[in-house]
Subunit: 247 residues, 2 copies
């Protein structure tokens, strides 16, 4: 039993090492700069050993992406526990994503790489649901929040509106916004001062447009953001936004 466990632990350690080196290579040298031989060389294992862990190069990258998504999901899950009105808790999800992006900017890039058709294309299809699991979880939370808002009367749907549409809109703004920031759009041309703030802002405008109370004109959401950072992400906020000059 203990021996079994130690072996498993060693394997896990080794896998972590592979992933850590792979991550560095991917970020420093790009997709084509990441090669299985290089990983083997830098970890001082052989190539055959890496293939005991990952069926192919793409699967390795996918695993990197999955871990980063899981990490983000944890932050979001914590955010949604914030004690407040549904729309405030929606803001908390935004804060979670914002913090995640600031703390781990590289992860978003890895996710972009992973999203490339050429990666997914080579993975046996049965691994892919696993990949989307955390996205689905986030989606469920979003819809859940919208439904709560409806239940408590904060949001009254107009004829033709649906919770799915609202969720889709918020998702699209966030996703499209981050994609733009990451370089798919000519952002430097459209010179926004703070693209992250613009994403937040537009989500609020959309929320107001749907009539989701309290509207941003009748509530101090900046204060809400402060509270969320203080109460839910104190440690992360200190790291992400700096805590003065104290060590």
């Amino acid at each position: 039993m203990t021996i079994q466990t130690r072996k498993q632990r060693d394997l896990r350690r080794r896998e972590d090492l592979f992933l850590q080196v792979a991550r560095r290579l991917l970020l420093e040298r790009g997709f084509h700069g990441l090669t299985m031989d290089r990983i083997a060389e830098e970890t001082e294992y052989s190539k055959g050993t890496t293939y005991l862990h990952f069926g192919c190069k793409e699967e390795l990258i996918l695993e990197l992406g999955k871990r980063s998504r899981r990490q983000r999901l944890e932050l979001i899950t914590r955010g949604v526990t914030f004690d407040g009105r549904p729309r405030e808790r929606m803001v908390a999800i935004g804060v979670a994503v914002d913090i995640h992006t600031r703390l781990f900017p590289d992860d978003v890039r890895i996710w972009e790489i992973m999203n490339a058709e050429s990666i997914i294309e080579k993975i046996p299809a049965d691994r892919q649901p696993d990949l989307k699991a955390s996205d689905i979880a986030v989606n469920d939370m979003l819809i859940g929040l919208v439904n709560e808002a409806i239940a408590c009367g904060d949001l009254v749907l107009r004829p033709g509106d649906s919770p799915q549409e609202i969720t889709f809109g918020l998702w699209a703004i966030t996703d499209g916004g981050f994609a733009a920031i990451l370089g798919n759009a000519p952002l430097e041309h459209l010179n926004l001062r703070d693209p992250y703030a613009a994403i937040f802002k537009n989500c609020h405008v959309l929320g107001d447009g749907y009539g989701w109370r309290p509207l941003s004109t009748e509530w101090d959401y900046d204060a809400t953001v402060e509270r969320i950072r203080r109460e839910v992400f104190p440690e992360e906020s200190r790291v992400a936004f700096g805590g003065g000059e104290a060590a």
Copy 2:
């Protein structure tokens, strides 16, 4: 002179042939299924000849993407000539994108493939501005429309709002929405009936949120869409949405 021209024309023809075959291969067999040898074989030219046209495989794919972007830009440019209030003309851009997506769904997929980091990564950097040119053009049109709306009084910016933000929001919804439709998001899970309509809808909600007159509650934008299709894209609409059973 005429000889020179005939040669150029032949070269162009051949390039078109390469691109046409490449396009088919890319769509049928994916990124990894598209190989330079295969293109040479199917066109009955040699591989060396293909390399007279394209410096590398990625450059070829990039050219495919560029052409498709240019085509979309043409539709958008036509859309923006629509005779109406600025917000109606913004809708016309949406209609153009919608029509383009319906007429050439494959192009969007090619653009996705092209967007993959692994493609861009290998292109000598001096070709990339060229790529973004049409995106920048679209962006300029969007900002131009927002400014027109401000100039004619249809849109009164609240303190803190900027034309750039509005443009960014609309862009993000559209881009993120299409990305979601193309598979980056768990769309089948969030079961929307018509994702395309949802994009439209959310753009309207955003426009309303910014107070861009006429609001969707005080104007029949469905009628505007009909007019746009009839007046600006009669032929394309017939093909895209079917024109009854007439030949």
